[in-house]
């Protein structure tokens, strides 16, 4: 049970992180920050 919750927690964390990254991506692009190499 604990392993399942930990797995769900890891996937949830990644999902949230990716959505925050989507907003961060828009901000970076709007401000003209270098996000490519």
């Amino acid at each position: 049970m604990s392993a399942i919750i930990q797995r769900l927690a890891r996937v949830s964390f990644t999902f949230v992180m990716m959505n925050v990254a989507a907003v961060s991506g828009l901000v970076s692009l709007s401000l003209g920050r270098r996000v490519w190499r």
Partner: protein, 354 residues
């Protein structure tokens, strides 16, 4: 309009967008792929290919990358390897000098990956272009598998499959496990999209294009592996997914690095809309519905989630359904916070070990 009605409308719209992107669209795609698949006529062809690698300060992995390509079972006389050094200041040039005769090198001042790829295509001598990065490795039969769908004249591009070491799950890396699960889901979507027409981009680690369909990339391009294939799709050809053409890679081990990578990817998705606004036109883009549902939907979901949270909090006292929705989201974000703690703890353990 009554404020409560307005908030309710926002709530249901945000819920509908989120559910469509993560449930409705995948369900539609699975049904579509099952009911009306478009077959690809694969053949064991071996056209001459030009393999292009853009590298900046990749000396640590470049030698292994070149050796891996030379060890491929693809006929060596049909294979041109081009490495474009994009302003490298490490021993990249020395490695390329060592492989002179086997590898064509282009040494450029720093200009970005898109410029490096454009330069690589300029010196390519063959009609099939294969793109890869310095960090990954190919399975020995990956190149043969990658070009097999090009036997079909309707196919203009092929994306291979990138296998991340974290896909099998397990380990203490939180971000690795989460990214592995996400990447499996993403590849499933790409496979279904390929079955009904075209994928919405390729895997930068392993993809091929017909040279005649290549269009030089604007220098500021962030996602070359989306823009180049989408230009092929806009020209009317298909870009398909070939699961047996395999490349291998490690996932960025830390959440911060992965966050940076995702920020770049999603900034690139916004940029694609600016570089190719035709993608938004249903009568011009043959994969319009898929593009709107998959790429645009992904960009809208963060705002929909935020709206959903605010609206359900505001409405939670008015009806049990909103209270349940709010409690569900609090539980979900609590779980994500626990995931962040696990990630931090996992990194602390790794630091102790090393």
């Amino acid at each position: 309009m009554d404020t409560v009605v307005l908030i309710e409308a926002f709530f249901w719209t945000a819920l509908a967008v989120t559910l469509y992107v993560y449930v409705g669209y995948p369900t539609l795609l699975a049904a579509w792929a099952r009911l009306a698949p478009k077959p690809v006529h694969r053949s064991p062809v071996t056209p001459p290919i030009s393999i292009i690698i853009a590298a900046r300060n990749e000396a640590a992995s470049l030698q292994a990358r070149i050796e891996n390509l030379l060890a491929s079972d693809y006929p060596s006389e049909l294979m041109q390897i081009i490495v474009v050094s994009d302003g490298s200041t490490d021993p990249t040039a020395d490695i390329l000098a060592f492989y002179k005769g086997q590898v064509d090198s282009v040494l450029l001042p720093p200009g970005g990956k898109a410029c490096a790829l454009n330069a690589g295509v300029e010196v390519a001598t063959h009609d099939v272009l294969v793109f890869t990065d310095a960090r990954q490795s190919f399975a020995p039969d990956a190149l043969r598998a990658l070009v097999a769908p090009l036997a079909d004249p309707h196919v203009g591009g092929v994306s291979g499959e990138l296998l991340l070491d974290c896909e099998s799950g397990g380990g203490t890396s939180t971000i690795g496990e989460g990214v592995g699960a996400y990447w499996k889901y993403e590849k499933w979507l790409r496979k279904q999209e390929s079955l009904i027409g075209s994928t919405l981009g390729s895997t930068g680690a392993i993809h091929a294009l017909r040279r005649e369909l290549w269009q030089p990339l604007p220098p500021e391009t962030i996602l070359d592996d989306v823009l180049a294939p989408m230009q092929v799709v806009l020209s009317g050809a298909r870009v398909v997914f070939e699961g047996s053409a395999r490349a291998y890679d490690r996932v960025a081990p830390e959440a911060a690095a992965e966050f940076q990578r995702k920020t770049r990817t999603l900034a690139g998705n916004y940029q694609i809309l600016r570089l190719q606004p035709r993608l938004l036109l249903p009568f011009v883009n043959p994969v319009w519905l898929q593009f709107i549902s998959h790429k645009l939907g992904r960009l809208l979901v963060p705002y929909a989630l935020f709206l959903l949270f605010i609206c359900s909090a505001a409405l939670s006292a008015r009806h049990p359904i909103y209270a349940v929705a709010f409690a569900g989201q609090v539980a979900f974000y609590g779980l994500a916070a626990y995931g962040a703690v696990l990630d931090r703890r996992g990194r602390a353990i790794e630091a102790d070990i090393t």
